[in-house]
Symmetry: C2
Subunit: 121 residues, 2 copies
């Protein structure tokens, strides 16, 4: 029998749930919703690119003005996507002066990846 314990994100700052089963018996709806929220944040090409660009940027951080041109979208749209990534716990935002610096939350992608790999066993 496939007994796979997939932890809930805990990636999301607001998420209190932890260690909920994904593929144990029948993944309770709440844990499934938590997981889906995290994956939905990665389910848009623009957001994957933003994550990528931020991670590859000097110092591992970038401000909005660094990001609008590479993805070819307006500033409000980029801000919107960044907010979604922050809410998902994948990016961190730090205001310094009039700039907002975004960086990848250490371990956040790793944690999501571990959930999937663990689920596959």
């Amino acid at each position: 029998m496939t007994t796979i314990a997939l932890e809930a994100p805990s990636v999301a700052p607001t998420s209190g749930t932890c260690c909920a089963p994904l593929v144990r018996e029948a993944a309770d709806p709440e844990a499934a919703a938590d997981l889906a929220r995290s994956f939905k944040a990665l389910g848009d090409p623009t957001r994957v690119r933003l994550l990528s660009i931020v991670a590859a940027h000097d110092g591992g951080e970038a401000c909005v003005c660094d990001l609008t041109e590479p993805v070819g979208l307006s500033q409000p749209t980029v801000s919107h996507h960044l907010k979604i990534l922050v809410d998902a716990g994948l990016l961190a935002r730090e205001q310094r002066g009039k700039w907002a610096y975004y960086s990848v939350v250490p371990g956040s992608l790793d944690r999501l990846g571990a959930l999937l790999s663990e689920a596959a066993r």
Copy 2:
């Protein structure tokens, strides 16, 4: 500098791309779209639950009739979600008699998880 090579899914049956960078320099749009497609399939609570239930089911497979009641949705809706999971390369479909049996594609979740974990380094 954060130099993260994130391979393209290759999880999707139709996907020909492989070994595209996610967070190397600025994730090319095509690779980002490929990745986003895979994650979008996991970006819905119902689909996470379906995946979970299938994996936890006896023999690691289940037919549609086993799935409608647990998720509390109509048969067309469940079929629709299953198709999305199959298209994403996460589930396999096998017709036996008048039943269609769905099972988790071995290694598919693992592969996605590895992409994320690798991207986190």
